[in-house]
Amino acid sequence: MAEKAKLGKEFSKGLIKENPVLRLVLGTCPTLAVSVSVTNAIGMGIAATLVLICSNVVISALRKIIPSKIRIPAYIVVIASFVTIVQMLVKAFVPALNDALGVYLPLIVVNCIILGRAEAFAGKNPVAASFFDGLGMGIGFTFALIVMATIREIIGSGTFLDGIDSLTALFGVTGFTGFTLFSNPVGVMVMAPGGFLVFGLVMALANKIAEGRGKPKAELKDCSACPMADACSMAGKGESCEEKAKEESAS
C-alpha cells in the first residue's frame, strides 16, 4: 500500500503543486509559443508527455550504467531518439499539427522539463516512480498549456478548439472544426505580450492555490529538483537555498 501511495504522490505532484510550467517555471518557451490555440496545446502536450514518459523510463533503467560525468550527453541522446520518433509519427498522422507547431516539435529535445526531470528525478529513482513522475509532469504541462491556450484563443482569436479536426481525425471523427465565438477578437492576446500577460496571471493563480494548501510560494524544500544539488555544499540539509543564501550573507 505504501508503495502505491508513493507512486500516486509522484504522479500527483506534477499537476499543481510542482506543476512544471506554473510552479517550477520550466519549459516557458514552448508554453508561450504554442499556447495560442487549444488544438496546438493539446498536440504539444501529448507529444511532450510521450517523450517525457519514455525518456524518464529509459534513463531510469540505465541510471546505473550511465557514467555521471557524461550523463547530460547520454540523456540528450535518449531524449532526441524519442523526439525523432514522435516527430515522425506526427508528420505521418497529423501533418496539420506538424505545420502548426513548426520548430517547437523538434525543440522538445531541449525542453527544460524533460531534461530537468531526467536530471532531477529519473537519474536517481527506480523505473516505476520515474514513469509516474513523467506522466504527472507531462499531464501538468499539458494542463497548463490548455488553460493558457483556452484563455488566449477565446480572447485573442474569438474561437475555441479551432482546427481540432486534425486531432479527432485520428479517431475517425471528422467534421467538427471548433466553435467561432465572436468576430472582433483582442488580437494582442495571441501575440507575445498577451502570452506573457496570461502566463503571469495563471502563474499567480497557481501560486495562490498551492499557497492555500500550505505550500510555500514556488520554493522547493528538498534539493531533488535542483541541478546544482551535487555541487552544493548545503544539499540535503533540509533548508531552502534562499534561507541559506541569507544566512551566508549575514555571517
Binding site: N184, V186, G187, V188, M189, M191, P193, L201
Partner: protein, 327 residues
Amino acid sequence: MINGKTLHVSISPHLRTTKTTRSVMLDVIIALCPALIASGIIFGLRALVLTAVSVIACVVFEYAMRKILGRSNTLGDLSAVVTGILIAFNCPSGLPVWMVIVGDAVAIIIVKQCFGGIGQNFVNPAIAGRIFMLLSFGQMSKWTAPMAGFMNLTKVEALTGATPLAVAEGEALPSLTDMLLGIRGGCLGETCIVALVLGGLYLVVRKVITPVIPCVYIGTVAVIMLIAGKGDFNHVAYQVLSGGLVLGAVFMATDYTTSPISTKGKVIYAIGCGLITSLIRIFGSLPEGVSYSIILMNIATPLIERITTPKPFGTPKKEKKAKEETA
C-alpha cells in the same frame, strides 16, 4: 521665546506641503479640461461620451480590484479618473465603446492594481492600455474626420481622415493653423495643441510638473526632425504638432511613478523618449511612436535613477578608493 514667537522643536520632515495626491490629480484633471472641451467641439458629442465611459470604467475597475484584493479604497485620490481621461484621449472618437473598456481594464486591473496600485505601476497605465488596444484593434487607426459632428452640420461627413503623419506625400496637409487648433484627424485628445499647451502651462504654474521633460522631449524630436528634414522648419512644425507628441510629452511622460526624480535623470529620460519617437517615425513601419517611446523609457527609468542618484555631501569621491581601503 524669540521675538514673541514660540520655538517649536519637532522631528523631521520640517518642510511640509499642503499638496496631496488628490490635489495633484485634481490639478491634472483641470489641466486636461481645455483639451476635453476642444475634443467635444472638434469631434462632437461622441468624444465626450467616450471619455465619460472610460472614466466610469476605470473607477469601477479600480474599486472592484481594491475590494477583491482586500486593500484600502483609493478612489479618493482621483488617479483612476486621470487614467480614464487619458485612455479616452488616446482613442479615435469613432472607436466602439467596449474596446475602450478593454483598454481601461488592462490599464487599471493589470498594469496598476496587479502591481500594487498607485505609485507601484511599472509603466504608465494609460500608455499600456493604449498599446494594448493599438495591437488588438484595427479601429484604433481609423480616424474620424474633424468637424463631422455637431459643429458643422452642412459639411459632407467624411468617414475617415488620415492623420498628418499617415498622409502620403503629395496629399494635402492641414494648414499649420488647423494643426494648432486641432482641426485634423487623430485621437480625440491629441489634436488641439493650443488646449494641451494651456493645460501644460497650468501644471507648470501649479508646480505639478517641471517643464524639463516636455521641453526636452519635444525639443529632441524637433532637432532630429530638423536634421532629418535637411533644415526644413515646416517639416519640423508638422512633426511636432502632429500625432500624440504634445499630449504624451505633457501628460503621460511626466507621470511621477514612471519618470526619474532628479533633473539629470529627467533630461536623459526625455532625450530617450524623443530619440525613440523620432526613430520610429522616420524608420519604423508605424506612423506614430510616442506611446512606444514612453513605455520603453518608463521601463528604463529605474536604470536611469540608478546612474543619476545624487551622492550625499561628504561621501568619498570615488568608490574605488573606498574599496581599496577596505581591501
